[in-house]
Symmetry: C2
């Protein structure tokens, strides 16, 4: 087991905040970003917690990321807002995009926020969860840098291209998930490599285009595969088209070509869709869905867990979180 240090949530927040401000972020943005990183650790989503901080700091220090960004929104139609992230990190764009999107969807039943010029390297569930907490269903996706070979190819072309979904349950915690369309999230492969673990077959190819279960062989010159073969590959292509084709931002391979290769997160687009069951559904949708969730949870077998349940359970604890010591040493060097 890797060595860890116990840290209170408040300490995690302060560490992130201090380092972000030192690296050139203003306090407004540092506060938004530190909250997202702390919440990921709080919920047990380690690969999207402090693990991301070094890349943020790198991008801020290289000047690629604008630490003083104030994203702007442009309400083009009653159902569509265009969001310019102004070269800031994605959570600072969500801060203005989500309220505008929610307002639009609550009026017309469905709305899109298309975010461009932002740097997304955080978990994807916080934004859909925030929308679901306003009583709306949500879908989000974002692209990245080439790290996944499309079905039929042996070269990285797609990003890990996650899709997130959330369903509102007023009075209860929403059902929320995000999933990489890669067989495994790059962050999880990196964590496995760091911790000396193997990955399942079908996760990726090595630098010779051969299948491998060594995460380090995938990270160093190899390539991830989409989950579920050509189906996951189709979904990953959809993510590229929604986040680049539809937003006007760069496709993953274009992103790489223009990135400064500082190791910080790459620029990219994000697609956010919000839908109102209150407007669209005919019947008493809350009871209808509550009963659905009860039936699925009661199915025979090992047990069906509602997506997001574990995260919401982790959230209830105020206990210190175990943070990887090597990571803390790395952060201290910034």
């Amino acid at each position: 087991m890797a060595k860890t240090k116990a840290m209170l949530l408040e300490e995690i927040y302060k560490l992130a905040f201090t380092k972000l401000v030192e690296a050139g972020s203003d306090e407004h943005n540092a506060s938004i970003l530190s909250t997202v990183l702390r919440n990921a650790e709080r919920d047990g989503s380690h690969s999207h917690g402090l693990f991301r901080l070094p890349a943020y700091l790198t991008g801020l220090k290289s000047g690629k990321i604008n630490g003083n960004a104030r994203a702007t929104i442009n309400e083009i139609t009653p159902s569509f807002v265009r969001v310019d992230g102004k070269q800031g990190l994605a959570p600072t764009a969500h801060n203005v995009a989500v309220p505008a999107l929610v307002t639009a969807a609550q009026k017309t039943g469905v709305a899109i926020a298309a975010i461009h010029r932002c740097f997304h390297m955080a978990a994807l569930w916080p934004e859909v969860e925030a929308i679901a907490e306003k009583g709306l269903a949500a879908i989000a996706c974002t692209n990245y840098m080439p790290s996944v070979a499309p079905a039929g190819a042996n070269k990285a072309f797609f990003g890990t291209n996650p899709i997130a979904f959330a369903w509102p349950r007023p009075g209860k915690t929403p059902v929320v998930y995000d999933m990489a369309t890669a067989a495994m999230a790059l962050g999880d492969v990196q964590v496995a490599a760091r911790d000396g673990k193997k990955v399942p077959e079908g996760t990726g190819l090595d630098s010779d285009g051969q299948p491998t279960i060594e995460p380090s062989a995938i990270v160093k010159g190899g390539v991830l595969l989409p989950f579920g073969g050509y189906k996951g590959s189709g979904l990953s292509m959809m993510v590229e088209l929604l986040t680049a084709g539809l937003t006007g931002e760069t496709f993953s391979d274009e992103t790489k070509a223009q990135d400064n290769a500082d190791g910080g997160p790459p620029i990219g687009g994000q697609f956010l869709l919000a839908m109102s069951p209150e407007i669209i559904a005919i019947d008493d949708w809350q009871e209808h869905c509550d009963s659905f969730f009860e039936r699925i949870s009661g199915l025979p077998g090992e047990g069906v867990r509602l997506p997001g349940e574990r995260r919401h359970k982790n959230r209830l604890s105020d206990a210190p979180r175990k943070i990887n010591l090597e990571l803390l040493e790395k952060i201290a060097l910034f």
Copy 2:
């Protein structure tokens, strides 16, 4: 190899049309339905061609399906149309839903059509392709009857719950796919069972909840699995929530409980989303995307096929299609 009969597309259409009218469909609806079945055979999508006709005829004869249905549309907001299928087969509802949805999305950038009270047993790509041919991106999904066990369960609960996606390429054929969120479409498992073929591991469980590669063991008392484990399971749950939770129609397990068990298609809801790159994208989206499609098609490896390419190629041929003889004998009995 199963015995086949060569039939011209026109003959396929006429066979379907005649049988549908005999079973109680009016000519307007029979024409819409026969076109969809013929187009599936034309494009090489055999599991959604004449293979579906016996179930349509069964449902019409039992009185479950309304052969004279005229779906109605209700424009609730500028971006949302509610469609009542009036107990007809789904393509008769698409006939009015798609034009209304396209008009809405061309104005506001994004729109939803939520269809309820329709019987969906056709391929899912025709409706998204029709939307893409109007210059819009589209996502569609529909639920069904329980045939897939959620990750963690060993009992059928989800339908095969397909998702379809289409991306417009004005002047060229759109990129179009549909995929079951089941490891395999039930129709394909049925065809494999009929033809005495095996299916890949991970496709389903037998009646004892054990993994099997015998399609007949899955069809008879067994259960399909979602593709890609818990990820496909999450997507299948999303389809249930969009097609039942959001439309107000029945979840797959509720559908089964109220079905008359005649073997015809079950009632259900459908979710249709249309998005306008013309309104949403910033740049010259057509060139931007054309260049993306060129790059992905040129990747090293066995070769990346753009989804829908094979179908569009099949479509160019006027040659007779080979139709399973046993299927034709079955149809003749109606």
